[in-house]
């Protein structure tokens, strides 16, 4: 059965764009949901040697079913190595063995700083979010960070309610001054566009629009006056092969690609 690429959803475009961004990457720190499908798609396409690392203590996972959480037992069976969490964070992450980490959050600002802790004040939260998990140290120690998030005024905000995981802090060479081992956010892959930080201020900028999306669509969904790269391209639409893998092999029940 062949799946035609026409009629793909915005989530499928995100998955495909994220997978392509992993070209040539050796080790990736994975979360559940879209990042997980993106990494498995990359393993089947642009990065056949990609090793999946989960904060639950798994290196080289080859999940036989779509994992429902980062602690799913399918990640253990057939993995290269399963270790304690102190070893995972100390010997893999802090040792510098994670090439790329995929992160997301409830709020992101122009420098790629993330909030996953609270909306409102910490003492009297309007919404209590999950908190850091491993994201804080992952954002500091992974060599590169890619974000996968849907665009929207409530998530792409001028000012975070709480800084849980650092991006480029207040921009420029802030990470170097802080002594962070990793280079921080490189890409933000959204449902409408791809954003990067390739300027001296390390400020988020629109670099590629997905097919059918115009610049104003993106700007209207960001809570500050977002920069536009000198040259912006169009994200290539998902290919038939990519769509076949996503829909038939990786997420046949459509749990994450709707």
């Amino acid at each position: 059965m062949t799946i035609q690429a026409s009629g793909y959803t915005a989530s499928e475009m995100m998955i495909v764009a994220a997978a392509r961004a992993l070209v040539g990457v050796r080790t990736v720190f994975v979360g559940v949901g879209l990042p997980n499908i993106a990494c498995n798609l990359a393993r089947h396409t642009v990065a056949p040697d990609l090793q999946l690392i989960y904060e639950s203590g798994v290196y080289g996972a080859q999940p036989a079913r779509l994992p429902l959480s980062i602690g799913d037992p399918t990640l253990v069976t057939g993995a290269t190595s399963v270790i304690s969490m102190v070893d995972l964070f100390g010997l893999y992450l802090q040792r510098g063995l994670v090439d790329v980490a995929l992160l997301g959050g409830a709020q992101i600002d122009r420098y790629g700083n993330l909030n996953t802790t609270v909306i409102g004040s910490y003492e009297n939260p309007k919404v209590r979010l999950p908190g850091s998990g491993g994201a804080c140290e992952i954002a500091i120690n992974a060599n590169k960070v890619y974000m996968i998030m849907r665009l929207g005024n409530r998530s792409f905000v001028d000012k975070l309610d709480f800084l849980t995981s650092p991006g480029h802090l207040d921009g420029g060479d802030a990470r170097e001054r802080m002594g962070y081992p990793g280079q921080g956010p490189q890409l933000v892959i959204t449902d409408k566009a791809i954003l990067d930080f390739n300027n001296g201020e390390r400020e988020m900028q629109i670099t590629s629009l997905h097919p059918g999306v115009n610049l104003d669509d993106v700007k209207a969904n960001v809570g500050w006056d977002i920069r536009v790269a000198d040259r912006i391209g169009e994200t290539p639409a998902p290919s038939d092969e990519e769509m076949h893998l996503v829909r038939i092999e990786l997420d046949p029940q459509g749990m994450y690609r709707g």
Binding site: Y122, V127, P130, G133
Partner: protein, 305 residues
């Protein structure tokens, strides 16, 4: 060999007292719901609950008002969404107010490590530049006496009691586990008292046949409880899968305190023991959680007589 086997009821009655700090650990796997439910049934109060990922078990315990404080690093229903009972306690003090102390994952495992090794702190590359130290004064800094570099530190964590679910142990508590190890070993060495809950009690010879797999020695174990399916609806690698339907349904049940209390009345207060709970879950359901088999080939340790 000392036989440390006791019932769950006796283990909780003996070791878990009002006002204590308690860690029921297990990262998605090995979460001992059987122990949590027995603590609710025995109506403990004012506990400090410690877990990296509070998960549904602490959501249930906090809805039952057994705790006044929570120490954690990720507050979510894994793969599903929010922990509504804990959010209700934090946002609205329903049914009881809850104090929190919050770290990142590496901070929590580091705290267990320092506690286990009886060291004054654990250094880690985290927290700098974030808001986390602003809301937790126990996240502090130290300058390396070798390089002068400033590094984040977290304090040791030594729970009064740790409850650790594993695949198997002998009657003395020499425990073997495989799958996601989480911080089961570290929290066991950190705690003052350790209750090990097992799917199977095995002979000492089974343990001695594969010593690399013994992560928790009976030396630090105070009680051994034999409670098959004691981690349901979480899972035990190779024994049963996670009951994902339950994790999804809890999202609905837990949205209102009334519905949550009705659930507790039926599934916790309404049953005397884990056996009654499992009868209620039913064999049909449990059978759907059986994984296929994927045995590891055995290795040869060699005989050196």
């Amino acid at each position: 060999m000392t036989n440390k086997q006791v019932s769950m009821q006796e283990a909780i009655a003996t070791y878990v007292r009002d006002g204590m700090s308690l860690a029921i650990e297990g990262f998605t796997a090995f979460i001992c719901f059987a122990a949590g439910h027995e603590i609710i049934r025995q109506q403990r109060k004012d506990l400090t609950l410690i877990r990296m990922t509070p998960d549904l078990i602490y959501d249930q315990m906090i809805a039952a008002c057994v705790a006044s404080k929570l120490v954690f690093s990720y507050l979510g229903n894994p793969g599903v969404g929010s922990l509504h009972c804990i959010r209700r306690a934090l946002e609205k003090s329903i049914p009881c107010p809850l104090e929190i102390e919050e770290y990142s994952h590496y901070g929590m495992v580091g705290r267990y490590m320092a506690g286990a090794m009886r060291m004054p702190f654990f250094p880690l590359r985290s927290y700098v530049g974030t808001d986390m130290p602003k809301v937790n004064p126990d996240i502090r800094w130290v300058d390396s006496p070798y390089t002068g570099e400033t590094i984040a530190i977290v304090p040791p964590l030594n729970p009064d009691v740790a409850i650790i679910h594993v695949q198997r142990a002998d009657a003395e508590g020499n425990s073997q586990l495989w799958g996601l190890l989480g911080c089961q070993k570290e929290v066991a060495f950190a705690a003052s008292k350790v209750i090990v809950v097992v799917e199977e009690i095995v002979d000492e010879s089974v343990i001695r046949a594969d010593p690399n797999r013994t992560l928790i020695p009976g030396l630090i174990v105070d009680a051994v409880v034999h409670e098959p399916y004691g981690a349901h609806p979480s899972y035990v690698q190779g024994y049963y899968d996670r009951d994902n339907d339950f994790y999804l349904s809890w999202d609905e049940v837990s949205r209102e305190q009334d519905k949550t209390e009705a659930w507790l009345n039926e599934w916790v207060y309404g049953v005397k023991s884990r056996t009654e709970y499992l009868d209620k879950v039913g064999e049909t359901k449990l059978r759907t959680l059986n994984p296929g088999t994927a045995p590891a080939p055995s290795i040869d340790y060699g005989a050196y007589a």
